[in-house]
């Protein structure tokens, strides 16, 4: 009985492991990300955000394959996608800028990136935008941005980590009204005194 249980457990574990081994992707394109607020996103960089933020990610794509005169190492970027995992499922990634700044740069050869080619040639360009709705729960969000070829194989991938913090307490609206009223009263009193001084 005990041996049977052990075999069962062994089978379950092995099945689980077989199911969970992750496919290794050959990532010929490197995707270097940066943000305006935190600059280059080195491994381990956590991007701080607040509910309601919209974060532009800048990027540089590089085909790292060796230069090849025959063009064998040129790649065709077919589609892109992104995943965001976290406490809320309402944080979204919009890749539209990728098509504007990276994919459509040469309509004659859509999606082409030659071996050793860098896009953009200098500087960075917006590659995607992450939107954090105001209702998003605070917490850590793990994201990836992926570039696929026509066979749905990943050509390049850029992971990022977003830390959505709880919004800071803001003053009660009534406090603002009170301040506004006080300032107005002070202004009126001073103006009246000044006018009285000039009319004497």
């Amino acid at each position: 009985m005990r041996a049977m249980l052990f075999r069962l457990l062994k089978a379950m574990v092995l099945t689980t492991l077989l199911c969970t081994v992750r496919t290794a992707h050959a990532q010929a394109i490197t995707v270097d990300l940066s943000t305006l607020a935190q600059g280059s996103l080195l491994p381990g960089t956590v991007i701080d955000a607040l509910p309601g933020d919209s974060i532009n990610f800048f990027g540089v794509l590089t085909n790292t394959l060796p230069a090849n005169p025959s063009g064998a190492n040129d790649l065709i970027m077919d589609s892109v996608g992104g995943n965001i995992l976290g406490p809320s499922s309402d944080v979204t990634l919009d890749p539209t800028d990728y098509y504007t700044n990276f994919f459509l740069f040469d309509p004659a050869n859509p999606g082409l990136i030659q071996a050793q080619q860098r896009i953009p040639v200098s500087g960075t360009a917006t590659i995607f935008t992450v939107t954090v709705p105001s209702t998003t729960a605070p917490g850590t969000y793990f994201g990836t941005f992926d570039i696929y070829d026509s066979n749905a194989a990943i050509l390049g991938e850029a992971p990022f980590t977003l830390q959505v913090n709880a919004p800071a307490n803001t003053p009660e609206p009534s406090a603002g009204v009170f301040l506004l009223c006080s300032a107005s009263s002070l202004f009126l009193v001073m103006r009246r005194k000044k006018r009285a001084y000039h009319t004497r």
Partner: protein, 707 residues
């Protein structure tokens, strides 16, 4: 006869045995046995506990033609005023006080290049020395309640120019602390010459109108070196002249104590006391205090000079060797009215010493602030201040050492702490703390020791506080806590008990879940009883090797945030399997507490593999678009939904945001069929689709051709 004086009280242990053996001639005997015992119980031994000294440097005045170095410092009174001599080829006597600085003493001198010398200073402000005519000189710094009621130079009567003291600290001329009595020596035969006749007599000047020839002894040679407040003079006198076995003529000098009332011929029945040697031929008398104890040095039988203390009040005067075990010379230079002796030893180099009857011989160098060393102690006054020659950073200085109140430690709060746990504030109470005091911890534990000054805040002379960082006390061995003061020295220690504390508990792990194969830059663990040495531990079954399961079972590099929070990072390779992992916190002493699961979940990676767009009823009609997915991730997005128009875009925000569409069918995990209105123009478009699922969202996009 006099009563029990305060000074007498200060040396009770030595005086008890003397009480029965007093000699009446010195007129000092009034101590009763009962009184002595009573006072002994009080335990009053002044200055003996003054284990550390503050340092004040004595600086010479600027004098024309005189090199500004201190040639020698001679005396210091109970106010801490110093008399010394400065110069190199031309010398000048000067007085110094901590409050007023230094000033040249206005002793008479015939020329600018004449020298004057300072030898003694009394409590009433009499400065005695040698003037520029080689005469004894007294300068009174102010009118005092004394029998010499003048200010300025006081003429000493007698043979003009008879006193020609030779150089050497404490020698030649001395002045009583309170009466202004002056003692010295000179030649009665040839007043104008220095020892040319070989006859020298001790002299004393009870007032500015009288002087006393103390007599030269059997060989016409005596020198007075010190005088106390009871008219007793101490000095040396030649007592023998003989030929040794080698035929060499030698003399023997003994110390003496003599009342100024008994001047005349030595050894008369009226009471002159000879002080014995330690077996050698010579005595060097330095000072007699008001209890008639005499400090000095004398030769031993082997010819060594040893510091000694004479008690002339014994039935037979007793000499005590203060350094009986030394095989090198030592010299006692001063004794105060508390019976404390200072001088110089030459053990491991010249060094100042402090001696009293309770603590015995003590090295002054152990009582000084860091960096200072003392090579000779010249004088000690009744307040325990010591005039000394010291060195700091290789620079020699004459200094006044002032005893500092010894700090004490009486309490710790808390007195028990949990190991590896931050404690703030940690407060100590006691006395005599200063802003420089530091709380010090000392702990011996298996394999090592901890010795550390803690960053200390001075609250008051009776309280200090600090913070004990959690990574300081990681062992449960008790800690000795002391307070160290750079000037006042250390306190005694109190025990700080370090306990094991409590086993850690976990309340949360954030983020949780985490995606498989993805590094977690910061994993925060909250709970209780965390310590600086606590470790976040990751445990996960990773496989089966045919006979055993394999594990990830390791401590992660952990940062201590507080007793309730730790954090770490997990590299991607440790999260390569999506299955349950387990997080615990390991206490350095107590081990692991109960843990929490960390979910490592798969993530769908969905791309659009194809888009087929057709006009349902020819050009300009509605557009049917079939979007099919490819999932290369590690989880299905079975419940993925699209519900808002903004989540399906053509050309994103550029042209067709919000283009109305209808969802015709959702093929779970495989695709979606939608219909766009016929107004969509033909051409290239970017189609992007955002869908949410339980735990996240994905966006897939592709360039499509609209027919």
């Amino acid at each position: 006869m006099r009563g029990v004086s305060e000074n007498k009280v200060k040396q009770i242990p030595a005086l008890i045995t003397r009480a029965f053996h007093k000699r009446s001639s010195l007129a000092l005997k009034g101590l009763s046995v009962a009184g002595a015992l009573l006072l002994l119980l009080s335990g009053n031994t002044p200055h003996a506990n003054a284990q550390h000294y503050g340092v004040t440097i004595v600086t010479p005045p600027a004098i024309q033609f005189v090199s500004p170095v201190i040639f020698f410092a001679a005396d210091m009174n109970n106010n801490g005023d110093v008399i010394a001599t400065t110069g190199n080829n031309i010398y000048r006597a000067f007085g110094w006080s901590a409050n007023s600085g230094s000033v040249e003493l206005p002793f008479d001198r015939p020329f600018n290049f004449s020298s004057t010398y300072g030898y003694g200073v009394s409590d009433v402000g009499d400065y005695v020395g040698e003037d520029g005519y080689s005469r004894p000189a007294v300068y009174r710094s102010g009118t005092q309640s004394n029998n010499i009621l003048v200010t300025g130079l006081i003429p000493l009567p007698g043979f003009p120019g008879t006193v020609a003291p030779y150089f050497g600290q404490g020698q030649g001329l001395a002045v009583s602390g309170t009466t202004g009595l002056v003692a010295g020596w000179g030649s009665p035969v040839d007043p104008g010459a220095i020892s040319s006749s070989g006859a020298k007599h001790a002299y004393a000047w009870p007032s500015n109108s009288t002087f006393v020839d103390m007599g030269g002894g059997p060989f016409g040679f005596s020198i007075a070196y010190s005088v106390n407040s009871h008219n007793n003079v101490a000095g040396i006198v030649q007592t023998a002249q003989f030929q040794d076995v080698n035929g060499i003529t030698r003399t023997r000098n003994n110390g003496f104590v003599q009342s100024i009332l008994d001047f005349g011929v030595f050894f008369a029945a009226s009471g002159k006391i000879l002080l014995p040697t330690l077996g050698g031929d010579s005595c060097f008398v330095a000072q007699i205090n008001d209890s008639d104890l005499v400090a000095g040095s004398t030769q031993t039988a082997s010819g060594l000079t040893h510091a000694c203390l004479w008690d002339p009040d014994q039935f037979l005067p007793v000499v005590t060797d203060l350094t009986p075990l030394d095989s090198t010379p030592s010299y006692a230079h001063s004794i105060n009215n508390g019976g404390v002796v200072v001088g110089q030893r030459t053990v491991n180099g010249a060094r100042g010493f402090l001696w009293d009857s309770v603590h015995g011989m003590q090295d002054l160098n152990t009582m000084l602030p860091a960096g200072w060393s003392c090579y000779d102690a010249i004088k000690i006054n009744d307040n325990g201040q010591i005039l000394a020659n010291c060195v700091f950073n290789g620079i020699f200085s004459v200094v006044v050492l002032t005893p500092q109140p010894t700090p004490t430690l009486s309490g710790l709060n808390p007195s028990t702490v949990a190991g590896a746990t931050a404690v703030s504030p940690f407060t100590v109470t006691g006395t005599n703390f200063t802003a420089s005091s530091k709380i010090h911890v000392h702990q011996i534990f298996p394999g090592g020791t901890l010795d550390q000054d803690l960053a200390t805040t001075f609250d008051s002379p009776t309280q200090l506080h600090t913070s004990i960082l959690a990574n300081l006390l990681t062992h449960t061995d008790n800690v000795a806590v002391t307070v160290l003061d750079p000037v006042r020295g250390p306190t005694g220690g109190l025990t700080l008990t370090v306990t094991q504390g409590a086993i850690p508990t976990l309340a949360g792990v954030t983020p949780n879940p985490v995606p498989v194969g993805t590094a977690v830059p910061k994993l925060t663990v909250t709970g209780t009883n965390f310590k600086a040495a606590s470790k976040i531990h990751l445990y996960q079954i990773t496989g089966f090797n045919g006979s055993d399961f394999t594990f990830i079972n390791l401590d992660l590099p952990t940062t201590y945030d507080s007793a309730n929070q730790l954090h770490t990072s997990i590299p991607a390779n440790l999260l390569s399997l999506y299955s349950g992992a387990y997080i615990t916190v390991i206490d350095p002493v107590l081990g692991a507490g109960p843990g929490l699961s960390l979910s490592v979940v798969g993530v769908p990676k969905i791309s659009i593999s194809s888009v087929v767009a057709t006009r349902i009823a020819g050009p300009g009609s509605s557009l049917s678009v079939l979007i099919t997915f490819a999932n290369t991730g590690t989880a299905d997005a079975l419940n993925a939904t699209v519900s808002a128009a903004s989540q399906l875009k053509l050309n994103g925000v550029n042209t067709t945001t919000g283009t109305p569409f209808t969802i015709d069918a959702i093929y779970t995990g495989q695709g979606i069929l939608v219909t766009f209105p016929g107004s969509i123009l033909p051409g290239n478009r970017v189609l992007s689709l955002t869908m949410s699922y339980d735990g996240g969202s994905f966006t897939a996009s592709k360039l499509v051709v609209i027919p």
